[in-house]
Symmetry: C2
Subunit: 199 residues, 2 copies
Amino acid sequence: MKYSPALQGLIEALRCLPGVGPKSAQRMALHLLERDREGAVELSQRLQVAVDRIGHCVQCRNLTELEVCEICADTRRDAATICVVETPADVLAVEQSGSYRGRYFVLMGHLSPIDGIGPEDLGLDRFERRVAEEGVAEVILATNPTVEGEATAYYLSDALRSRGVKVSRIAHGVPLGGELEYVDGSTLAHAFSGRRPLE
Amino acid sequence: MKYSPALQGLIEALRCLPGVGPKSAQRMALHLLERDREGAVELSQRLQVAVDRIGHCVQCRNLTELEVCEICADTRRDAATICVVETPADVLAVEQSGSYRGRYFVLMGHLSPIDGIGPEDLGLDRFERRVAEEGVAEVILATNPTVEGEATAYYLSDALRSRGVKVSRIAHGVPLGGELEYVDGSTLAHAFSGRRPLE
């Protein structure tokens, strides 16, 4: 015995969400139908609107409904500095830190030969040309400190330096509020090799 | 800074799902838009279909697209036995055990005076009349072994016994494959008080 077709269909469709297995999908479907039908209708509409309207910014590739996203269109931001991140969530994290006033370039992934993701898939060819043409002074590489993120940063620094652009990498080390005792070895190694003289 | 309105709206709408907080909602929205737009459209449609079509079976109150659900409409099932459960998921669990061939009554909750849920909200008044009128021989109470579930079972057994119907409660004790060592005290107490002579 299974649930009725419409219920079964909803349960299966919910599994497209990351981290949702058969049991959670069942719990979600029953919750929506028993307790939150308004929420379900709202979610249905929001999904449709999001898929219909959201595309990529032609300049930075971030998700947006506009042709050029708000950050790229903001003339008060420093156009000579571009921060390269992997995902739209990374843009939000940097924005929330309030420490950056330049522009972004969102890779929407990282180099991963094993998955067949090369420089063109990340728009790096166009990005390199844009950097050279628009007179960008500095590119800050803020890809994740994972193997793929580091490889992507290395590839970009190589490609951009030959075009005479200043390239920097964000610092990796002990996070604020972190305790040395609980920080992993690779992070500590980074923290030591990246030490700076106190002035 | 926030995401664009359509993206922000989707993230907020996803929070109607149980167990989904702001971070998961953000992850889900970005996953759908970056990697699974087809899944998002499918989910949007399934939600709409489910909300439009799924209602309650007029006999057992289970979720169904039909007026009378498949189980209630199945004449091969024993109409003289009714198993009372709290949720549609419980019906599925009992069905999957393959140990029951009667019908169901789904409370869609349990008695909970603190939340203002009384017997009428669970359809118990109509259920009692139905049991008396249709010549039901046995009602098996399979509500959860929680305070509210037990209270609901107690209320029903009280109401039904006065109408001359046999009322039973499913057994509670050590689960199969469970080890005594790891079973909690209340379950063990149930297992001892519910012991049966070996024949």
